[in-house]
Amino acid sequence: MSELAYATAAELAPQIRARALSPVALVESLLARIERCRVLNAFITVTADVALAQAREAEREIAGGQYRGPLHGIPVSLKDLIDTRGTRTTCGSRILAEHVPIRDATVTMRLREAGAVLLGKNALHEFAFGVTSNNPHYGPTRNPWDIDRIPGGSSGGSGAAVAAGLGPVSLGTDTGGSIRIPAAVCGVVGLKPTYGRVSRHGVFPLSWTLDHIGPLTRSVEDAALVLRAIAGPDPADPSTLGHAVPDFYAGLGGPPRGGRLGVLDDEYHQEMTEEVRSRFRAALEVLRSLGLRLEDVPFPRPNEARAAATAVILAEAASVHEGWMRERPGDYGPETLDLLRQGAFVTASQYLRAQKVRALLLGEVDEWLAPYAAVVLPSVPTTAPPIGQRTLEVGGRQIEVRGFLTRFSRLINLVGLPAISVPCGFGDDGLPIGLQIVGRPMDEATILAIAHAYERATPWHERRPPEPPEER
């Protein structure tokens, strides 16, 4: 069972295609494992009946010669703010606890069309507005590497599920790091595509102009397979771009030898724990050994970018929740309500100023990135903090967890660039650390190729977390 649980989609697909592995048997084994790992609280809803019906259908189709492709019969889960027709989508909230969508989100539909099998809906931070996944309504989600630690967030259930072998693939969303943070602290791969690459239709918004949807997986190959399936223009989401979708999987040929790689190095990006710094430096040596030329490069105006991103997310989230904030404030957890209320104080003038700063940064980032195939930095400046801990001591200073965990990810959302997190080692406490690779707009192919080459050159993705206790 353990080998099957930790197999990647790319490993499972040929067995399913050759009918050496039954999608029904695979789903049954994963459902049993999800039940056994309930202590992790990685799922809000397990869709066992749906999964078994879809697996039987996949098995019938494949037996009949109608193989749809590498996701056919592959079990997937979705962060529980992605609409699923007929299956509740709670957004980790009390307000939408019984909400059953009548349509699929575009990404759900695309996975169904690819033949994927829906295992369930993953736990998340309430309305995706936070990074701990310590949910006041559904309980804390736990990190498989240490169940007293957070799995990151907001896609914490997705990170925990993929890391614990509860399915090879989950879709998450990323507004300030919510795919990359759980991927990094749970020791898996997380890909935030370019803004506009993947449709947001049918995905509950946190911040319209910062939200991105992408996969969490146990390998870079799987991230490429899933991105290819979900990407592309969507008339239902006018923010999607019309670019053709490359075969990201076929493009995993290795990074350009001699290519220039920027290493983010400025005062803002120096703030990290010593163990993260040490593993990141070791990762740079691996990248150098792959034939990449590394050069230090500062991010343009990081503190101003951070302030602008904060204003945008607060104001847009407050707008999304305006009605419920007035009518049902008691149905929010206190942390979420405080953030939404802060957003109500952002004036129109301040919001527009932040969006003008975004315009300025887009131009500057263009020039900043132009010489490089990609830019690298740690995904998160620390390992996973304990559940419930609000501050961390770093360099003798007390730092608020929320701001610190998003420090290296949220600026990238403001400028919409693609970014991937891959495991790059473990801290002194045995907790995973992630390497972040940021690419040029619509150039996911290059960051996937670099990440794939790095993954092949290192053993970090092969480690597995301990089996969680059945009860806590």
Partner: protein, 67 residues
């Protein structure tokens, strides 16, 4: 420097009910946010239009944006 009275008035205008305790807790956070956002006025943004979404590169070839 914001005051509790300022926050109370803005909350009222926004139609958001908050107790005095809520306002007192949020005051330093909102004040710090305003200070950060005030600093943005020093940037060369006066002649720029807001970007709204990070996709000015439109329908272009991968890896580049229009100037």
């Amino acid at each position: 420097m914001l005051t509790i009275g300022d926050l109370g008035r803005i909350a009222h205008l926004a139609g958001v009910r908050m107790t005095q305790v809520d306002l007192e807790r949020l005051l330093p956070l909102v004040d710090a946010l305003y200070v950060d956002l005030d600093r943005l006025t020093a940037l060369p943004i006066a002649d720029l239009e807001p970007a709204f979404t990070p996709k000015p590169w439109g329908e272009m070839t991968p890896g580049s944006r229009p100037r």
